[in-house]
Amino acid sequence: AQTVTQSQPEMSVQEAETVTLSCTYDTSENNYYLFWYKQPPSRQMILVIRQEAYKQQNATENRFSVNFQKAAKSFSLKISDSQLGDTAMYFCAFLSYNNNDMRFGAGTRLTVKP
């Protein structure tokens, strides 16, 4: 069974600085997607960035980028130029091509300080 581990329950960063959130996963699958979701106090899960496992190039979305290490089963999220609005829970998620059960980690609570 696939599992997703986020080892940092809480993190904080100063506004305008860079922070990296860690995620590791365990799977025997070769074809899958990885996601980072943001959940602000409004509770809605918002997709931040996604990565397809067959792509070697790391995904980038504006200030958000990932470091995808397939062999190490690692998928970290880097947030550059942190903004106060980035304060939220961040969840790493895994979805196999052959399964509809998206697996989530326990989340990392990120606080951006002014």
Partner: protein, 114 residues
């Protein structure tokens, strides 16, 4: 373009009662997944509906059941409520046959069982 809509926003029920939660998917989406998110944890997959049938089910008891209507909206029913059913219930929609951009989530229904 309406996103995923869930109702009600909050709900308080007594142990042993039954509850029905509702979800309208994003326009253009035909698949609905339900997740349970306990406090301080990541979401856990309950089941997914496609073409009005339960397509896949997570590790939840039969007290959890669902339905999908011809207009793709969905209901989650929970019978014989337990205190441990208190959680945020998230609905996510997606489109089969399209590229996987992850799921679009609603803001959830906060269920409290007393």
């Amino acid at each position: 373009d309406a996103g995923v809509t869930q109702s009600p926003t909050h709900l308080i029920k007594t142990r042993g009662q039954q509850v029905t939660l509702r979800c309208s998917p994003k326009s253009g989406h035909d698949t609905v997944s339900w997740y349970q998110q306990a406090l301080g944890q990541g979401p856990q997959f309950i089941f997914q509906y496609y073409e009005e049938e339960e397509r896949q089910r997570g590790n939840f008891p039969d007290r959890f059941s669902g339905h999908q209507f011809p207009n793709y909206s969905s209901e989650l029913n929970v019978n014989a409520l337990l205190l441990g059913d208190s959680a945020l219930y998230l609905c996510a929609s997606s489109f089969q046959g399209g590229d996987v951009y992850g799921y679009t989530f609603g803001s959830g229904t906060r269920l409290t069982v007393v």
